[in-house]
Amino acid sequence: MTATVTSDRPANVTLVKGAMQRWSDLEHAPGGGASAAARTYVEQQLRPDARVALVGPHPLDLITGLAGQVAHLTVFTRSIPDAVLIGNALLECEGTEVVCGSVAHLPEAPEPFDLVIALDDMARVLSLETEVLDWQEVFDAVRALLADGGTLLLGVENELGLHRIGSLRSRYTSNDDATWSATATFDTGRPRTEAALTGVLADAGLVVRRLGIGLPAWEDQAVIATGTRSFSPQMDTLLAAATLGSAAFRRVGADPTRVTRAAVLSGRLPDLASGWFVVAGAGSGAADEDVATITATTPSGEVVTYTERDGAILTERDGVAVAEPVEVPTGSRLLSEHVLDACAVHDLPALRSLLRRYAGWLAGRPTRTSAGDRVGDIRMDAVLVADDGLVALDPGVLRGSAEDAAWEGLADLVRVIRARGARHPWPSATDDRTMMSIMGAMAELAPHPDLEALVGTESREPALPAYDVPGLLAVIERLTETNTALASRAQWFEDRLNTREREMRLRTARHDEELKRVVRQQELLRSSAEDVRRSITYRAGNLLIGPVRKVRDRGGR
């Protein structure tokens, strides 16, 4: 239970109706705008002279980062513990304040804001202290903060997103501490489609300037894309690559093998996004051009943005334009998809061919010669298979040798196979190290001296709340197969051991019997000899022969 000492709050925190004494949103989830991709959207809307409102839970470092970039920042939070935390963090920042309570119950309307940021949806803006409002009523309160001509940056979760479909638990049946209000689910006012969302915005007098989608999960928005309706096949391929290659899908039980991959193959990934990100303007004005972009957070933390203009796909990395446009051959698919398919159908010749191509392709890539060289992404999720070769989506140099790069790629593949419970052609009892060694041999790599160090590298990402039950079952099935195989082998060895032990016991018994028989024979002979010595004939003979022997012996001397 969070204890609150309200008198300890800093001076920049104002309590209003709806302030929640004992609840911290930031303790439960980081809030909207946590990913680097989402933050680029925030950055794009910032103006130095702007009055900015941040509504609902957002990461503390996002808040403090905003404070120095705009003329004024008001943070609206429902939680007193969060307000105290944020207030203390902003104490030294001029032009900032924290209002703690219900946005829908402000004692007086604040001076309108040029930019209102609410990336965490409306569900965690509603205070438990007030009457229960529905999504639309909370949205109306947030909308009321916006100045005429101002901009709203809004995030709305998609109830039919992949993360919800693959969720281990239903939010409709959960009864945890956060579900004191079920407005996140049982709320007819919530927009549940892109059309419903744009309708809500239009009714509120807002013009949608940009509409993006977030993938792969609401809690982990590593990828944000806009203009997906006008995506070319090449952009679809990039979106699939960025989504499937995200860190979320290297955690055990994470979905992609089923729903996400089906969404990719059917071209419906945008329909099943975890949520929408909208940049909307208050007042008159036309919508921006529907620019096709993908902003993705790479495993190394870099933000890469692909923008399609006039048929070419331009790339920016951490805001810096890459000179060469990215090449996405028509009809190309990710190498990981080819390899996983070959594994699943036991097509070993195809697998050998793919792995050799991969190793050969890596051998032809440049390696780092100076500290300034950018290291590319050589994982199979970042490499496309085209008719005439392989194409890197992130064409930097190799960190080390081509052989090391190939082993790194194989280690990542083994992790993916294990995390997804994917089918593979190797005997069930095969361990990770052996699996990787075999693939290395298939790729004609020289044996690696320390494979354990490579395969043992695990993701340190926090556990994802959304899992795919079939995905988890697949992992269990693969593990069951492995356990069955290992148990079978253990039984086989035990059987062999038992047989050997039986043989040994039998031989010992035979040996003992033989020994006893010999001992008995020896005893018999000894007994017979004794009997002879005791006979009258023997003794009479001794009496007669004895003197004769003595005479003979003396004469012999």
Partner: protein, 283 residues
Amino acid sequence: MDSSNHWYRHAHIWSQYCGLGFDYPPRINGVIQHGWTFVHGFGAGHEPPHGFTKYVWADVNRRRGQAVGWRDYYVTGAPMLYLDRITPHEPDAPEPEGTIWYPFHGTVDYEAVSGDHDRLIDEIKETETGPVTMCLYYVEYEIPAVRAKYEDAGFRVISHGTRGVKWTGGNPRFLSEQLGELRRHRRIASNRLSSAIFYGSSLGLQPAVYGDPMDLVGVKTGFNGTDLLEHTYPELHGRDIDARVAREVADVELGRDAMLSPEEMVLVLGWEQEWLMRREESA
């Protein structure tokens, strides 16, 4: 089950409401919220055991409770509302007048208030124009010096008595007397938001919250509303509060919309057998 159900005879009032008589309410496998609170329905150190129902006045208490990990709430509305419903108005009662003033109180068991009674008396005299009834909590009422201060100021001083300990003692007519006093007055006032203010507001009295709020010595962390309630309930602080707004808020806080029929109340409290037997006996 829980002796606090008997403090203000809440169980007795519900028993009477359900037709089971006032004097011997059946056992309740749960705990009734015994006073207005800005937390989860229960005071510091009063943690109803898991698995037993928590009968609270308003849904906001349930929501606050769930947020701190508590479950098994049932929202019933405040027993005072039931008492008001089953207590007929006296036909020849005089027109309400004056102010009934409830200074904020602690409990003799856990906490005590500390403040300046003289300053409070001055503030009351400055504000109230009609006769003033000072209703002291039994702790203060039994201190002659404190009682004398208010009597010397010309106020009528009363107390609704004690609430009893462990199912024994206490004024069985505590709430009945409070209801009667509230119906006699036009205004209700206190130096802090309290059950009395909400009772009075809900009954249509003109509320006022002013004066030294007094410190609660020994209060448990998180259970002191000082510097919180004036921000979260600004509409209920001041000498001239909008009575209509106050009544709306009070009805929400007391759970008027959540009130149960006797039939539902019987089932919710686990009194079905008693109720059926009583019906058979009377048939």
